[in-house]
Symmetry: C2
Subunit: 104 residues, 2 copies
């Protein structure tokens, strides 16, 4: 036996703190722009940009770029898949947590 393959319970894409913050904020506001998200999450621009790129690539968020008052503006919203995944992720964290708290 070449070592047991563990079940992949926690999705790293979602679990990463920066992305967890992004997704969680998004799940409460329906849509947000880049600057708002940066303030809300405390991430740097570069960081936020690359996290968003990954989330978009994975289909968890939808990104729309426009110009607002002659300035570039990036609008981000959770997709259905994204909403499902973040919800599921919190549920999985709960089940891990219950390992330590048998029953009140």
């Amino acid at each position: 036996m070449p070592e047991p393959k563990p079940e992949p319970v926690l999705d790293r894409l979602v679990h990463e703190p920066g992305r967890l913050a992004i997704l969680t904020v998004l799940s409460s506001v329906t849509n947000a722009d880049f600057v708002f998200l940066q303030r809300a999450t405390g991430l740097t621009k570069g960081n936020l940009s690359s996290h968003l790129a990954k989330l978009e690539e994975a289909g968890l968020v939808a990104i729309e770029k426009r110009f607002v008052r002659k300035k570039p503006n990036t609008n981000i919203a959770l997709t259905k898949v994204g909403r499902a995944r973040i919800t599921e992720h919190w549920a999985q964290l709960d089940s891990i947590r219950r390992l330590s708290e048998p029953s009140p």
Copy 2:
């Protein structure tokens, strides 16, 4: 301003899925041996070993090596610090989560 330094809310050392599992399991059993932890967490030996090394280095767990029935046996327990940190971590996750669930 050279980009705002974000507050380090989530401790990566603890947040990492493998270690989160280890710490959470430990917080329910007072102490455990290597093999038990491997089964409980689903990690491979190599993985578990290096995670434990990091946790020990950070003072979150205490590791004691013995021989039990002529075989090497590694016994692991949460330290006070470790117990505090895992509790605090769950609390921080809660506060992040509340961002998306204003109040029922």
